[in-house]
């Protein structure tokens, strides 16, 4: 009951914020919310299920492209396009996951890295279907029940996407499945001995989180009203990994802190060092791995624990 009230309050505050912003701030705010959504689901995949995958941002791209292609090239109505888009993401996630999760540790990272690069190649060579290097543009969200959802109201849609993702992951994390994921992450052999089906757990974790990334991509398709290959490049998959590690992997709060920090950092750094904020990202990443393996949220944990003692 308490958590439901918390969710409602968060929905209210985040939505209210949407109505107070100008158009530039709205753009920044929307993308911040999307990054937090992605970091949350990637946190489940990397931090809780322990899979180093570089395909998360690719599924965001697949969702966005699937939405635009299904709506405007195939001509499906919106509800059908949403369902079909989710099906596309899940099917592709299974195609990648069923063979790839057999791979141990870092080999999964490589297979997904190759998959991510392959996606960009296909986008560039997709001809009129994907729009090639220029991508697809000049479309807008179809009316929903005769209403045009624009401006702050679309931001509210993103707020619900974020909270929906959080709720799904929260529920999963606290179920037997979340515990199974942690067990498989920490010691696959011990997990197997406890009667957990390691392969199925890995595949389901990968497919669910990838589908969540895909849904976020479907929402993103109408934020910039354009999709093109550079948006979904490898850089952003790295950034997602950095966000989760800097914030504190395995903790939803960590993912949120990491996403907010790394997304907003360039805005504060650019007056000082121009476009070289990626250098700071790298240094922060190395420093966190070396000195604060639990991430920034670990500092907070240590601080509250110490206060409780005194």
């Amino acid at each position: 009951m308490k958590s439901i009230a918390g969710f409602l309050l968060a929905a209210l505050v985040l939505s209210a914020l949407a109505f107070m912003l100008g158009s530039y701030q709205t753009d920044v705010y929307r993308k911040l919310l999307l990054w937090i959504t992605l970091a949350l689901s990637y946190n489940f995949l990397f931090g809780i299920a322990g899979q180093v995958a570089f395909s998360h941002f690719t599924f965001y791209g697949i969702g966005a492209y699937a939405m635009v292609i299904l709506l405007f090239q195939v001509g499906l109505p919106l509800p059908l396009a949403i369902v079909a888009g989710i099906v596309v993401c899940v099917v592709l996630a299974l195609v990648v996951a069923i063979p790839a999760t057999r791979l141990e540790g870092f080999y999964l990272a490589l297979a997904t890295l190759a998959f991510a690069q392959l996606f960009i190649v296909v986008l560039n060579e997709g001809g009129s279907v994907t729009g090639g290097p220029g991508g697809l543009a000049n479309y807008r969200l179809p009316d929903i029940l005769g209403v045009r959802v624009t401006g702050p109201w679309y931001t509210v849609v993103i707020v619900f996407l974020l909270l929906g993702t959080l709720a799904v992951l929260w529920r999963l994390d606290r179920s037997w499945f979340g515990r199974a994921c942690r067990a498989v992450r920490d010691d696959p052999q011990a997990a197997q001995a406890m009667g957990i089906n390691v392969t199925t757990t890995r595949i389901v974790a990968y497919a669910v989180t990838s589908a969540l990334a895909g849904v976020a991509g479907m929402v993103y398709a109408f934020v910039d009203n354009t999709v093109n290959p550079p948006i979904f490049g490898l850089e952003n998959s790295f950034l997602l990994l950095f966000m989760v590690i800097v914030g504190g992997s395995g903790r939803p709060a960590g993912a949120i802190v990491g996403a907010i920090l790394l997304y907003l950092m360039p805005f504060f750094l650019s007056p000082l060092i121009g476009h070289h904020h990626a250098l700071v990202f790298g240094l922060v990443m190395v420093a966190v791995v070396l000195f604060q393996p639990k991430g920034l949220i670990g500092i907070w944990d240590g601080w509250t624990a110490r206060r409780r003692l005194t």
Binding site: V52, P99, A100, R102, L103, G105, F106, Y107, L110, A111, L113, A114, F115, Q117, L118, V121, V122, N124, E125, L234, F238, L241, F242, I245, H276, A278, L279, F281, G282, L283, M285, V286, V289, L290, P293
Partner: protein
Amino acid sequence: MSDFVELMVGAAASGCIYALVALSYLLITRPTGIINFAVGEWAMVAAFGGFLALSRFELPYPIGMAIVLVALAVVGWLTERFAVRPLVEKGAPPLAPILALLGMLVVFRELVSVTMGPDPQPVPPMFGYGRMELGMVAGSYQSFFIIGVTAAVFGAAWYFFERTLAGRSFEAVAIDRRAAALMGINLRRVTALAFAGSAGVAGLAGLLVSPNVSAHYLMGLPLAIQGFTALVIGGVGRVEGALLGGLILAVAEQVTVRYAPIPPGLAQGVPLVLLIVFLLMRPTGLLRARESRA
């Protein structure tokens, strides 16, 4: 026919570059189990070193090359000293050094982009731009130079691992870390040497490839992926595997670009598909690691 032979000479040269990058991974992975994506960035740093030494200061090629390679070995050793050793000594999980090196990848790339600018810079080849013909076999001077140097490096690597005590100690660490440490092998020194050697080899790859592609701060990651593909094809356990994998990858790449009826953009996908197929079908590669011998 002569067209095909010339294609093969070019493929062999780029295969040698992939093989050197693959060897650079292997030198670190074999004794430590760490997969270091920053090898591509080391190659990139060396390419810019080549630009500084050979184009800016116009040093003679062998001297410039030696300076760059020594500098790279130092860079590799420093990377190990400050980004990897603290983690190993703390007993951090095996993923931690890999993530730290992933961060170092970004640090190297952005440092070069900040100091050298985002534009590609020329690096001269060893014997100038020319074409050599030996009967049917024809190709650029640089191609033959790359093939010769790579053959020498792999010969030296083979000799090192098979015939010298230091090389055997690498192999011992690869087979069983604890046992090797108990036998009096200094793990810390092996790791430091592995990183220095790996950076040197990666630097050589970057220096050799840079006359063909120019030094550019984004050249590292593609090289890292191609090198890893070569390693996966050939097998993570053996030095010869790196060479074999590099050559197979380059030939597959060049042949599809030239002969396959698909657009050239899509041909870029060939190494990626090859990587995925090999990871799924035969993750140990073509050549299996040698088991410990009695």
